[in-house]
């Protein structure tokens, strides 16, 4: 399945009162103008919700693979989460933490059968996007991974929450791809300086709506 999109939106929805649940939703907005996206898969991990400088929700074993082709992966539900305070921020990692990368064989979204694991240089691909830039017909493959300094690629993001109802976080994939000079760099397949550079840039294109 080939999909095209300009940006990916994901929603964090929670209720602080009667509903007693959290839902994180990912939503794609499709545009066929600049890029043809063949694969978009990335991990978010270590999801936390904070209020008044305290952590009120910290998911155990928090690893989620978001896959453009798997709509069910755009929704993360916490049906039993309960809060008595006003939440004011959310934090998570784009990618996996170093523990996941050194723990041998893992299950669920971290199962190497998901195609997000490098066998020859143990560790996870934190973010994978593959596709084609339409105007120049350039094919690109960016596999961003690596957990060892100085080439660690997961990035922690924290965003303020200013509503009780829905938090909408956007990944502007098109803008991220726009700023890469694809003539110079059309693929990254190993941990290293390029993966670090792109991971730094990538974190700038997540935002709160």
């Amino acid at each position: 399945m080939i999909r095209s999109l300009l940006c990916l939106l994901f929603l964090v929805a929670y209720s602080s009162n009667a509903q007693d649940r959290i839902e994180i939703q990912f939503d794609s907005h499709q545009f066929a103008e600049m890029y043809e996206i063949e694969t978009l898969r990335f991990y978010i991990s270590n999801i936390e919700l904070h209020g008044k400088n305290e952590t009120h929700f910290k998911e155990e074993n928090s690893y989620h693979l978001v896959d453009l082709e798997e709509p069910e992966s755009w929704v993360i539900r916490y049906p039993n989460a309960k809060f008595n305070v006003q939440l004011d921020s959310i934090s998570f990692l784009i990618g996996t933490d170093s523990l996941a990368n050194v723990s041998g064989i893992l299950e669920g979204d971290l199962d190497p059968i998901k195609g997000m694991y490098w066998a020859w240089n143990s560790g996870y691909i934190n973010f994978k996007v593959e596709g084609k830039k339409r105007d120049s017909n350039t094919h690109f493959e960016y596999h961003l991974g690596g957990y060892l300094p100085p080439h660690a690629t997961s990035r922690k993001l924290t965003f303020p929450i200013n509503t009780d109802e829905v938090i909408l976080i956007k990944l502007n994939l098109s803008q991220f791809l726009d700023q890469i000079d694809m003539q110079l760099l059309n693929e990254v397949m190993i941990p290293g300086a390029d993966a670090v550079q792109l991971s730094n840039q990538l974190s700038n294109y997540f935002s709160i709506e």
């Binding site: 041998g104 064989i105 060892l148 300086a193």
Partner: protein, 335 residues
């Protein structure tokens, strides 16, 4: 307090009680603790036998022609004797000398470049590598899950007849961690069971002077990487550890492998360039390029080994041969 301590040690033992027999347990009593975490994968007879069967099963390769044992033969310390670099399906050749599988429970990383950080994920490499089995993890799982016999064996080993990535790979580790070599003549000598000849004694003395800082007894390896100054083979262009870390000072560094059973694990070095042990010893004794900027600091001292010394050193290295390991039927092709 004493009871509590006894309780704790009893728990520690129970995690790996299925790992090795009592004889071997006493042989390794003074060794460092294994690095492999048996708590996460307790070894059972069923798991060991399942891993053994998988190890010898050629159906794991894409065209059903080669098993793990093709490049890791028991009688030669589980390496590919006589082949400089390993061979895969359809006659494809790799770029490195297949490593021995000896005392892997004490390794903190795997492969000549240390790119694999946990034994449980190592087997993904030969299964999926183009020049080895060229298969996929999914195909292998589909294969074992479609076999009535394997389904029963997975159930007996892991309590679930459906193999997962985790149970498949942990089954391999149950077998490979069990490949413990601890009963060579050297081991018997250190336990006071046998005597060394004068030649072997001199070899041991020379080994302690010149070799033991990297190939550290009793495992005769280090979990570290170093350059022994070998010139780069332009047909392979292998930069070793640098390929993993992308750190300049790691250029041309390779794993410091165990020397156990080295008499039988020829050819030698990461690219298998030396066929004879005497060529290896001669290289370290006479041919090291002292102005090579990558050469390990530990090799920057002339060894002054006479021809007799070199022979004595080889005589010592041959005491690392462990026939109870190489000919243990438990590790061979399953019946």
């Amino acid at each position: 307090m004493l009871i509590a301590l006894v309780g704790i040690s009893a728990i520690l033992v129970s995690f790996n009680e299925g790992w090795i027999d009592d004889d071997q347990r006493s042989q390794i009593a003074d060794w460092p603790e294994p690095i492999y975490d048996f708590e996460k994968n307790p070894i059972t007879e069923e798991g060991f036998q399942l891993g053994r069967k998988l190890f010898y099963d050629p159906e794991l390769s894409r065209d059903n022609t080669i098993s793990c044992a093709n490049c890791h033969l028991q009688y030669t310390g589980f390496t590919h004797v006589d082949h400089a670099v390993s061979h895969g399906i359809e006659g494809r050749k790799g770029t490195r000398n297949s490593p021995v599988l000896i005392n892997l429970a004490w390794n903190s990383s795997f492969h000549w470049d240390g790119g694999v950080n946990h034994l449980d994920v190592q087997a993904l490499n030969p299964i999926e590598h183009f020049a080895e089995m060229d298969n996929t993890l999914k195909n292998v799982l589909d294969y074992v899950n479609s076999s009535k016999q394997y389904r029963g064996e997975f159930f007996n080993a892991f309590g679930d007849s459906v193999a997962s990535s985790k149970t498949l790979l942990q089954a391999f580790s149950q077998f490979t961690t069990s490949l413990v070599s601890s009963n060579s003549k050297y081991d018997q000598f250190t336990r006071g069971e046998v005597e060394f000849t004068a030649q072997e004694k001199n070899g041991l003395k020379l080994f302690d002077q010149h070799c033991n800082s990297c190939h550290i007894a009793p495992l005769f390896n280090s979990n570290d990487f170093a350059s022994n100054g070998l010139s780069i083979d332009p047909t392979l262009n292998d930069l070793g550890r640098y390929g993993i870390t992308k750190v300049g000072t790691d250029s041309l560094k390779f794993r410091i492998p165990t020397l156990r059973n080295i008499e039988h694990t020829y050819p030698y070095m990461h690219d298998g360039r030396y066929r004879k042990l005497r060529e290896v010893v001669k290289y370290y004794a006479d041919e090291l390029d002292q102005i090579n900027p990558y050469l390990s600091e530990k090799l920057k001292a002339d060894m002054h080994l006479t021809e007799t010394d070199q022979k004595d050193l080889i005589a010592f290295l041959c005491t690392l041969t462990d026939r109870t390991f190489l000919y243990n039927r438990r590790f061979g092709f399953p019946n």
